[in-house]
Amino acid sequence: MRAADAFIKALEKEGVKHIFGIPGGAIIEVYDALWDSDISHVLTRHEQAAVHAADGYARASGKVGVAFATSGPGATNTVTGIVNAYMDSSPVVVFTGQVPRSLIGFDAFQEADITGITMPATKHNYLVTDPESLTDVVKEAFYIASTGRPGPVLIDLPKDVTMVDVEFNYSKKVSLMGYNPRIAGHPKQIKKAAELIMKSERPVIIAGGGVILSNASKELVKLAETIPAFVVTTLMGKGSIPETHHLSLGFIGMHGTKYGNYTVTESDLVIAIGCRFSDRTTGKVASFAPYAKIIHIDIDAAEIGKNVRVDVPIVGSAKQILPKLTSIIEYKKRKEWGDRVTGWRKAYPLKYKNDDGKLRPQYVIEKIYELMPDAIVTTEVGQNQMWAAQYFRTSYPRQFISSGGLGTMGFGFPAAMGAQVAFPDRTVVDIAGDGSFQMNIQELATCVDYRIPVKICVLNNMFLGMVRQWQELFYDERYSATCLRCKEMSFEKIAEGFGGVGMTVEKVSEVEDALKEAFKIDDVPVVIDFRVERLENVYPMVPAGAALNEIIDEEV
């Protein structure tokens, strides 16, 4: 059998249903083999978008996302997508074409050393030089990408490797000498954690993306209710507990809720689950949770003790560890702590000025939430992302999809596309900024082509808003290179030009109708250009380098 055919058969064995990609000379054999397969392929308009789409597909569905690209520029275009998936631990497998083995190293046409380039940005990568090993490599790649701490894997396929005849024997098991993720959690450590929990008077749980990745949301809520402990999440952990739950305090960090940040700062015990204590979450590390002992549960041992001091480390999967921990603790009433937190929650709600009739981005998001609370929501990066995180109250895991670690503008739209491919019958909304949306706007063509009815809500302030906000607050309003000056540009017409639906909304009174109309459309992408207040800022805010409780707010 031709190696390319064996390769596609291996993907079928791995249960792959969808691939996002763009063909080219070096990967043409693979695409030829794909012609005979039932796997559906979405031809994106840029390889970066293909990887983001695979990433969004993975985050929404929990399955491995798959992307194809050709050699050289096709491969290098995938790099941002790969780093993005790496930073947020998303299981994505990227296959790139490569020049024939005999030409590797000779600077051949469309040759790029993609395994060298992605070495520090993948969980693992391969250059396949032995055609007989090709299907084994596929098996390993899916296993590595989806187990332990998930992450992207890249496989580089020299053209001649895909052309020769090979035997197809698909192995059932993968055995790797150097890879054996620990998942169970050490019983002694779990017991120590239970003791700390029972002693604690002011516990708080920080739930990160790891809770979602290990599908441990139910186990998390059970633990929180049993202790009982308030739960804050990181940006990546949004959805691990319904944000309408009485123990949920929203997300913490630079633009998190004030009450969440105060709760962590005043707590005497932090139970961190599947989070890596990023600088955006902790604020100034030296002042992070100064009165608290810290229990850190994570599947990646290298995360433990990397950024903050830890008293009880537990290495393993949240799914395995949380029930064990819950089973050996008992409910203990902590009224005083409950009252204090409730007090903060009442005193410092999220708020914005909304009594002057001006169209504000926060209002748009509140309306999206009100009309479509079950929608899958992706975000771009910047102000739009923070407002979405603040005002869209996530109710289930994998509902909120955002580029947390890398902060990739242009991620949200193709990720929404991927999520929509995974769930064709659900409503998928990309909460976007005008800057971010333009970074992958070409995918409107893909969405029209494949009837992917993603709703793109552009909070259009004609600025690179988050940078402008920093310039306003910290650089004397010197708006250097942040004004996008696109008053004359019409997202409505652009959407129509691609064959989608476009709308422009300038008044508060038009928001609801526009959204309702958009939610009815189920065959083409819809772009709503919300012309929002240009100088609106994201608050509350922890200034860079400040502690979580030094969070500032604006006067409303």
């Binding site: 070495m119 000498m177 150097g178 041992a301 003790g305």
Partner: protein, 163 residues
């Protein structure tokens, strides 16, 4: 800052050295010396890496290395080990000092492996202290060239670095 020596067993595959060195570079860890070769098993290579850092950095070095799929096992062999490095020094000589140099080499159990009219190559094996002492003595004659293999290390007694 202290110095640590770690023994890393890796799969004997192309690109493994690049993965390890790329990890050190990316995370800002300092490699003082690195030696690599095959082991008693031909599918496994062993790297001996000397790293400078503190305890916290070392913990990260070990944990991050462990995450590489091709890395099989990491052992801290800083204490209670036999350490060796092989060095070749090309020393400037003339007919007047050749005898003196040979005598010093002899005291250090170093071997003269090449003699020419204006230079000789001396090979010396040992731990760092011995090698430094010897090299410092050679400086007075003029060192024309010097090459080191990097340190290798093996724990004393029954303890072994193996799978």
């Amino acid at each position: 800052m202290s110095r640590y020596t770690i023994a890393v067993l890796v799969e004997n595959k192309p690109g493994v050295l690049a993965r390890v060195s790329s990890l050190f570079r990316r995370r800002g860890f300092n490699i003082e010396s690195l030696a690599v070769g095959t082991t008693e098993r031909e599918d496994i290579s062993r790297m001996t890496i000397v790293v400078s850092g503190n305890e916290k950095i070392m913990e990260q070095v070990m944990k991050q290395l462990n995450k590489l799929i091709d890395v099989i096992k990491i052992s801290d062999v800083t204490v209670n080990s036999v350490e060796r490095e092989l060095v070749m020094v090309k020393v400037a000589t003339n007919s007047a000092n050749r005898g003196e140099i040979a005598e010093i080499a002899n005291i250090f159990r170093a071997r003269i492996v090449d003699v020419a009219k204006e230079s000789m190559i001396i090979e010396i094996t040992g731990d760092e202290e011995k090698i430094n002492a010897f090299v410092n003595l050679m400086r007075q004659f003029g060192i024309k060239e010097l090459v080191k293999t990097g340190k290798i290390s093996m724990t004393r007694g029954g303890k072994m670095v193996q799978l």
